[in-house]
Symmetry: C2
Subunit: 68 residues, 2 copies
DNA sequence: TCCGAATGTAAAGGTTGCTTGTCTTAATGT
DNA sequence: ACATTAAGACAAGCAACCTTTACATTCGGA
């Protein structure tokens, strides 16, 4: 295992604000629902490109969504 | 093979500004020299945690270093 | 209560990120 | 000429990210 200090994120809250299901968000991000779920429940971090996509969906900077 | 739209980055320029070798930067980031080289020559994207580390070394936002 | 939507979890498999090790080449200085 | 440093490249191996498929659980509304 990597030393995995996994990042914290505000995905769940943001999803709620935008009234999106995990499946909705997955569709917008062009990833699977399970991937959204895994990131949200902090099983693993998104890749950098995916983090950019997430940020663009919510019109925020990456740093406003993810924190170390 | 992925359709690899790899991100662009300004690592090489930033390294020059800070007068750091790839090895120096690698030490600060706690990754291998080859990893720094591969990211700089855009063989692959850094992970999100590594992107955060890179941003903190140069005191910039991720978006100011990497662009899709 | 029952149904459907949303969520959580898991296994198996492919791709990407990162490692160590090695080799080559260019630039610089002595 | 020689040594040193920086950088680029490649390969093998492992860890992390992401996929599909599948099944279980939770929850709100009719």
């Amino acid at each position: 295992m990597r030393e995995s200090w996994l990042m914290k994120n505000r995905l769940k809250v943001l999803r709620a604000e935008y009234n999106l299901s995990q499946a909705d968000l997955a569709t917008r991000l062009e990833v699977s629902r399970q991937t959204v779920n895994a990131i949200e429940t902090e099983k693993y971090d998104p890749s950098l490109p995916l983090a950019f996509k997430i940020a663009s969906v919510f019109d925020l900077k990456i740093e406003e969504i993810f924190t170390p």
